[in-house]
C-alpha cells in the first residue's frame, strides 16, 4: 500500500462510517465493500476530496441464487497512477444504482455496458440504452441464467439471433498444457 493510500482509507472510514461493510487488501490491491446507500457518497468523496480523477472501469457480478443478486465494481485511480482503489456494492434485482456521470464522464458508456450485459439499471443516467446489443434485444446475456448458446430472437430488418451448437461444449482453453493442440479451445467435460 502506498503512503498516500494509507491516508485515504482512514479518511474514507471517517466519511462513510457504517457504510463500509468490509475492507480487503490482497497483493497491494485495496477493496472496500460498501452498502448501496453509501456508494454515491463514497464515489463523490473519492473524486472530490481524495483526488481519484480517473474511473477505469465499472463492472458487475451476478451472484445467481444469492440475495442481493448483483454486485457493481468501480475501479478508481489517480492520474499519476500512484493510487488504485476498488469499490464494490451489492444490488438486488429491484434496485437501481445512482449514476456516476456527474463525477466522471467515463461512467456513461461503462454504465450502459453494465445495463446492456447484466441488466442493472442506473438511475438518473441521461441515455441509458443498450451499447453492444441492439435496442429491442430482450435478454441480458451475461446473467448466469442466460445460456451461453443464446436464445433465438428475431426483429425483422434489425437483427436476429439463433442458438449456437455447442456440441458438448462449452469450449475452454487449457493454457498450461504442453503442445499447441492441447491448449486450443476444446469441449472438455467436467470430471
Amino acid at each position: 500500500m502506498s503512503a498516500v493510500l494509507e491516508d485515504d482509507l482512514p479518511a474514507l472510514r471517517d466519511a462513510l462510517g457504517a457504510g463500509i461493510l468490509s475492507e480487503v487488501e490482497f497483493r497491494g490491491e485495496n477493496t472496500l465493500n460498501l452498502s448501496l446507500d453509501a456508494l454515491p457518497k463514497a464515489l463523490a468523496f473519492c473524486k472530490d476530496s481524495l483526488g481519484y480523477e480517473l474511473l477505469l472501469d465499472i463492472s458487475s457480478l451476478d451472484h445467481f441464487g444469492d440475495d442481493p443478486r448483483f454486485e457493481v465494481v468501480y475501479e478508481l485511480a489517480s492520474l499519476d497512477d500512484t493510487r488504485h482503489l476498488r469499490l464494490k456494492a451489492k444490488v438486488s434485482e429491484d434496485e437501481s444504482v445512482p449514476t456516476a456521470i456527474h463525477l466522471w464522464k467515463a461512467a456513461d458508456w461503462h454504465e450502459r455496458e453494465v445495463w446492456d450485459m447484466m441488466g442493472i439499471p442506473f438511475s438518473d443516467h441521461p441515455n441509458l440504452k443498450r451499447i453492444l446489443m441492439w435496442e429491442g434485444y430482450p435478454y441480458f446475456p451475461l446473467r448466469k441464467d442466460f445460456p451461453l448458446a443464446g436464445r433465438p430472437t428475431d426483429m425483422p430488418d434489425v437483427a436476429s439471433t439463433g442458438v449456437a451448437p455447442l456440441e458438448g461444449g462449452p469450449f475452454v482453453t487449457a493454457p498450461g498444457m504442453e503442445g499447441g493442440a492441447k491448449r486450443e479451445p476444446r469441449a472438455r467435460h467436467q470430471e
Binding site: 435478454y139 451461453l148 443464446g150 434489425v158 439463433g162 449456437a164 469450449f171
Partner: protein
C-alpha cells in the same frame, strides 16, 4: 459489371475485320482479296465461345469487396500488399463500394449485430457476384459458439469458397481465390441465360 465489348463470337463476323482493298489493288484488279490469311490481322483474332470469353474476362479481373470484420482482415490486407500481391491475379482492385465489386471476401467474425449489414452490402452488389468465407469464423462461427455470433455467413448469403484457418495464411486466401477462378471458368452463363429465356418464353 464492367463494360466489355464482345467483338468476336462467331466465325461469320470475322470477315468484317478484313481490311478494305487498297487503291493499288483496285487499280490493278488482277489480285483477288484473300480472306483466308492476312498477316496484318493474324494474331488479333481469336475464335472462341462467348461463354469462354466472358468467363475468361470475369475470372481475370475479380474486384473484391473487402468485408473485413476481425483479424482475418489483417491477413486480407497482407494478401493485397506487396509481399503476397494479389494483383498478380488481377484481383487487386479492392472496391469499398459494393456496386463496383464482384466477389465479397467475408474476413472475420460475423456478429448478429453486423449480420444484416453484411447482407445489405451483399444485396447491393450487382450480378454476377461471388462470396468467399475467409477463415473459421465466417465459415462456421469458429471458436465463437456464443449468443452473439452468427454461426457461418452461409446462413445469410450463398458462399462459393470456404477457406479454413484461424486466420488463414495469405497463400490460403490466394488459393481460395484461384479456386473461385476455376469455378467461374466452368460456368455456362450465356447458355444458362439462353435456356432460361426459352423456358420463360415457351
Amino acid at each position: 459489371m464492367k463494360n466489355f465489348t464482345i467483338t468476336l463470337s462467331e466465325a461469320a463476323t470475322a470477315t468484317t475485320f478484313l481490311p478494305k482493298p487498297s487503291s493499288a489493288m483496285e487499280s490493278t484488279a488482277t489480285i483477288p482479296v484473300q480472306a483466308a490469311y492476312d498477316s496484318k490481322i493474324e494474331g488479333n483474332i481469336i475464335f472462341t465461345r462467348v461463354d469462354a470469353a466472358i468467363n475468361w474476362m470475369r475470372k481475370n479481373s475479380l474486384w473484391p469487396m473487402p468485408m473485413g470484420l476481425a483479424c482475418c482482415a489483417i491477413e486480407l490486407m497482407a494478401t493485397a500488399s506487396a509481399r503476397f500481391d494479389i494483383s498478380r491475379f488481377g484481383m487487386e482492385v479492392m472496391r469499398f463500394s459494393p456496386r463496383q465489386a464482384d466477389v465479397m471476401i467475408v474476413a472475420g467474425t460475423v456478429t448478429y449485430k453486423m449480420a444484416l449489414a453484411v447482407k445489405r452490402v451483399w444485396d447491393q452488389m450487382p450480378e454476377p457476384k461471388w462470396c468467399i468465407a475467409m477463415g473459421a469464423c465466417a465459415s462456421s462461427g469458429g471458436m465463437y459458439r456464443s449468443y452473439a455470433v452468427l454461426q457461418g455467413i452461409d446462413q445469410l448469403i450463398p458462399v462459393d469458397v470456404y477457406i479454413s484457418g484461424c486466420p488463414p495464411r495469405p497463400e490460403a486466401l490466394i488459393e481460395g481465390l484461384m479456386k473461385l477462378q476455376e469455378k467461374i471458368d466452368a460456368e455456362h452463363s450465356t447458355q444458362d441465360q439462353k435456356k432460361t429465356f426459352f423456358e420463360e418464353n415457351a
